[in-house]
Symmetry: C2
Subunit: 389 residues, 2 copies
């Protein structure tokens, strides 16, 4: 009998069917055992009254893998309104060694080190597997939005001959006896491919040899990058980014495991110039960058003043932007300290940097000049790039 | 005036419009210059009769970037049946340094080293950019087929603490003072995630420190990997793979830059057992593996006998398969040398290995036994994984 996945059980009420999955939970009552089987599509309830089988299930711990054949009957109290009765249960492997936490409880409360040491099991908790499913949906939304706008997906090399943006913070490898590095970003490949395809994006790993025991950095993560040509300035990039965010989060609208509250992307995301951002955050006007504490204040401000989870900060000083950033072509607010501002921006989400982007230099001579005069302070040159993991 | 992309010009006949892109070609005739502008959507013809502008275009080499405003008029002889007349042309950067080959010629005939040294320009040749577009379409087809079957996309770590399948052929890195390696495949992550999501796939880079100056190996490439649970044996994997191939190549059916001839995936891909494959290839029955020359003969045979570009070879000896491969559960043909065959297969495409896959061990004790008795000959353990780049 071909195996069904549990989500399809409601279509088979009255039939004898076979499912397979993991023992999610056994509820052993006085005269009945409820066996909850979890597969890739959800949970199925199996009603066991046979004494022999009940005794065998007592020795089959949670997370053991089983195949169950039984008759599907409607029961509004069961998951998806259906349960299996008069079952036979066939273990497909040895009884599982019980994990150090219960995957079936509503919350996974084990300490983080315990969860990480048992990640292959901890990720089975519905809250954790939901995060993986939501990640996949968001990436699919990112891609489909950009596909719809004529972007082409590319896959660029991750072993590179030179550090992407600076000599610092790269992982070095031995590449057949020559030095190689893990790419910090696909930035330069993207820019070259704009000359080829005009609009490109990439979803792929990036590597940064930075301490990652903070909430703001990871040594490897999946970066969502886009780059396109023929912009007037950074505002074109911000407009695209808003559309991409809306399309990405839109994927969650009818997603079975989406959170109850999906962040709303406003029709226009509020934007403040860097110098205004410093003032809002109560920072000195001479600060060259926003500190995490400043970003948190800005997140509160956007929430209160604009009812928005998102806030653009534009015009970061050139000294804190990678050398390939285009200098400002719009005026800084009056009274701003005299320095060179950029056409670069950050997008904050609830007070945390989510995306860095901007207009790039596009003339060869400008690159030569920028490289010659660069202050050598390459902050973190990501261009529309989500920190995804 | 907002810029249009060239593909939309037929919708604007009679209007004055602006396009932007690269000077693909200038054809300077006696009284007219045809300026062909290339953007991310294709080519547009601009008709220049003004003497001053013709003189300026003479100094604007191919690959310079321009913005052109003109009136769109129908002309069946022009690309997409439309051309711009009475144009103004504004260079958006310096005149391009002419590349060492002509991007506009039907064939890109420069020597490979020249193309690679100028890849950012060589890739602009329509034949080369078409390959990038086709790659993107194939990956999209791979994903959408698997999404439709309930698979979940995952992104697994590429820096790992131990070599995936063997100690050989990995790139070593210094991970904050501890040894790290670049992942050769997502195999073990995939298998763990089958326990979480049941059906998973990944599109991502893999790294192999093997000499890559052959047609069969690359030090880094994009791998298309899938893994799923609750199979009976390798034949379930082969059936899935056939569906994925059909869905992947199906994406090319109406693709604007698809090749004229798209490989056909037969309703059932022919399959031969490893021992039969040796006989067909004229190899000794004692050979432990298929050599590239054998695979080429098998490709011819599949073409001649089955009219198929694809051929499965099943039952490879365990000695040549990674330790996590499931031993054969089906009988080898009578007369086969006495050895342990596997539930592993290769898929050949026109005589070249395209995919390796099989059934995995799924019991803990089987892994312990396999590790204890492994012959230590981990061939190249990919599981449904296309060598894509």
């Amino acid at each position: 009998m071909p195996r069904l996945r549990s989500a399809s059980l409601p279509e088979h009420i009255g039939a004898t069917v076979t499912i397979a999955g993991w023992v999610h939970r056994r509820r052993q009552l006085r005269s009945v055992t409820f066996l909850i089987v979890r597969d890739g599509t959800g949970l199925a309830q199996v009603v066991v009254t046979d004494a022999d089988l009940r005794a065998r299930l007592a020795d089959l711990p949670e997370e053991s893998v089983v195949e169950v054949t039984g008759r599907a009957v409607g029961n509004p109290a069961a998951p998806a309104g259906v349960e299996l009765v008069e079952p036979t249960v066939r273990p497909l492997g040895d009884p599982a060694v019980p994990p150090p936490f219960d995957v079936y409880r509503p919350e996974l409360t084990a300490a983080l080190p315990t969860q990480l040491d048992h990640a292959a099991v901890a990720l089975r908790h519905p809250s954790r597997s939901a995060a993986l499913r939501i990640s996949a949906a968001l990436v699919a939304g990112f891609r489909s939005t950009l596909d719809g706008l004529g972007f082409v997906e590319v896959h660029t090399p991750k072993i590179v001959a030179a550090a992407t943006e600076s000599g610092a913070n790269v992982f070095a490898i031995d590449y057949f006896g020559r030095p190689g590095y893990l790419a910090q970003s696909p930035q330069f490949y993207k820019q070259m491919l704009v000359g080829v395809l005009e609009r490109v994006y990439e979803v792929g790993p990036v590597f940064r040899a930075e301490p990652h025991d903070t909430t703001r950095h990871l040594a490897q993560y999946t970066s969502l990058d886009a780059e396109f040509g023929f912009v007037t300035d950074h505002r074109d990039v911000m407009e695209l980014l808003r559309a991409v965010l809306a399309g990405t989060l839109g994927r969650l609208a009818n997603h079975p495991v989406a959170p109850a509250e999906i962040p709303a992307v406003p029709p226009e995301i509020p934007a403040v110039h860097f110098t205004e951002a410093l003032a809002i955050a109560g920072a000195s006007p001479d600060e060259p960058d926003l500190a995490p504490a400043h970003e948190r204040v800005l997140g509160e401000w956007a929430r209160t003043e604009h009812h928005s989870d998102f806030l653009f900060v534009t015009g970061y000083p050139m000294a804190k932007r990678p050398f390939y950033t285009h200098p400002a072509t719009t005026h800084a607010p009056s009274g701003a300290p005299s320095q060179t501002y950029s056409n670069g921006f950050d997008l904050l989400f609830r007070g945390v940097e989510l995306v860095t982007g901007g207009q790039r230099l596009h003339r060869y001579q400008d690159y030569l000049t920028a490289l010659a005069t660069s202050t050598g302070s390459p902050r973190e040159g990501r261009a529309p790039s989500y920190r995804f993991l």
